[in-house]
Amino acid sequence: MAVQDSRLDDIGGLQGAAASAKPARRLPVQKDWPAWATITAQIGVLVGIIGLWEIAARLGWLDAFFWSQPSAIWRTLVIFFTEGDAWTDISFTFRSTILGFIIGTTAGSLIGLSFWWSRNYAAVAQPYIICFESMPKLALAPLIILVFGLGLTSKVVIAIALTIVVSTLTTFAGVKALDPDGEKLFYSLGATRWQVFRKLVVPSCLPWIISVLRVNIGLALTGAIVGEFISSQHGLGRTIFYAGSTYEISLVWVAVFVLSTLAVIMYAAVSWLEGVLRKGTRQ
């Protein structure tokens, strides 16, 4: 017993020595701000930037000819909406983006899913898809405008060209990731190919299709705007291009601002759609 006690003491002594030699360190703790503080700070940053910009332009630190200034932008914005073609342009860009997004995503997903039906067909198609994927599709834009004209159609086609390949490849990746045992289960229950497709393949690939929606809304918007840059009679892209070439910098800012708002709205819509679709997949 005595021996044991002294040993215990020894260990205690060692621990004590080690503890005093090393400074006590604590887990770094980050305190979260309340929501109102975060929001106030976020608004504060925006107000600060706009304020600084205005002051810098008025004091001549920034060349207002190239950079414009918030007060001028605001005046242009009011004119753009009251006297200009704001709604025509917005609806033009919005329509081409949405149409391109819907057609591109749907067609791409369907093509990707179709590869499940035949391995041979998938093998034949694959090099072409990869080829089209690596091609800079915007390089085709001038050609598309020539073929499809100056109107809405050519913008929609460019948006489709940008979105379709990503959807196809992602959905095909989903098809390839299918668990073969899942198909085995369905066939052991006497399922037809069509039943396997509807009840297994499509729901299994849905998360993959969803994951591409957010990317595609950005791509569709890019496609529509580039189409308008090249040649168009309406649209926010055309407004930016036109305003830039005539040095109406405040109008460029107005169009960029409206475009960003549009993008945010579409992102919100897609996030909502994701939520709805994801509810059905539970993954």
């Binding site: 045992d181 052991s188 229950l189 009840k199």
Partner: protein, 262 residues
């Protein structure tokens, strides 16, 4: 043994073509299983247990022989037997109830009717309260129960179970074996069971087929004449231990030499 066999495997053999020639996965195998029997296949991995199952389920065309169900040739036809694979394969986007009715749904039973038939069974067999949950909310044992009920509700006379409890912990496994016994005595299906676990096979089965490898074949048939219902303590009786010893002996002898001896 008086009644006509429910499931007959008649000289079924399987060879796969490989770059190095043909690989004989199954030597011609013949089995006849009477209705309502619970039989187990035990054997080392690679002895072709899963191949036999895939052939019986019609998912694989054998290179020789036939599969007869109720005396009718069922070789290469799907949807004749219930097949539970090692994984539970519950569809994550369906509730437990909708997973369980999958077989009926595929067979064209109206959804409302299928659900009405499944609900009381879910409640009777330990899944009450889980009917409208999604599989990700279930424990391993519960998932296996759901998968097994899905197989049973497919409503075929023959059921193939491929190591259904292989991935479960020991405690859950025992519970599931008892649960399966209760289920089997209620439904009276013809069950073919595959397992690595000799004790599990003896506890559950009426008859054991001990398999050898290279090529896969049946080395011996071991009847299990233990009275039912069996208790956990049955595993301690001399009869049980004798059967277990015999199986372990068979499994430890190299299959090839066992074949020569036979």
């Amino acid at each position: 043994m008086a009644s006509a066999p429910k499931l007959v495997i008649d000289h079924v053999s399987m060879a796969f073509k490989t770059p190095g020639g043909t690989f004989q996965a199954l030597a011609p195998i013949t089995l006849a299983i009477p209705p309502g029997r619970f039989v187990s296949l035990i054997g080392p991995s690679g002895c072709g247990k899963s191949t036999i199952f895939n052939i019986i389920a019609g998912l694989l065309e054998p290179t020789g022989g036939r599969v007869l169900i109720d005396g009718v040739d069922a070789t290469g036809t799907i949807g004749r037997v219930g097949y539970m694979l090692q994984k539970d394969l519950l569809l994550p986007w369906r509730t437990v109830l909708d997973n369980v009715i999958l077989g009926m749904e595929i067979q064209g039973v109206p959804l409302a009717e299928a659900r009405a038939r499944a609900l009381p069974l879910l409640q009777r067999y330990g899944l009450s309260g889980f009917e409208y949950l999604y599989p990700n909310a279930l424990s391993g044992g519960m998932r296996q129960r759901a998968a097994l009920l899905r197989t049973l509700l497919f409503d075929t006379d023959v059921i193939l179970l491929d190591e259904p409890f292989g991935a479960l912990d020991a405690q859950t496994k025992l519970q599931m074996q008892e649960w399966l016994m209760a289920l089997w005595s209620d439904f009276r299906k013809t069950v073919v069971f595959v397992t690595h676990d000799v004790e599990e096979a003896i506890y559950l089965s009426d008859e054991l087929y001990v398999m050898g490898t290279r090529p896969g074949c049946i080395i011996d048939t071991v009847p299990v004449d233990l009275p039912r219902p069996r208790l956990r303590t049955t595993a301690l009786t001399p009869e049980f231990v004798a059967i277990k010893e015999r199986c372990l002996m068979l499994l430890s002898t190299p299959a090839a030499s066992a074949q020569k001896a036979a």
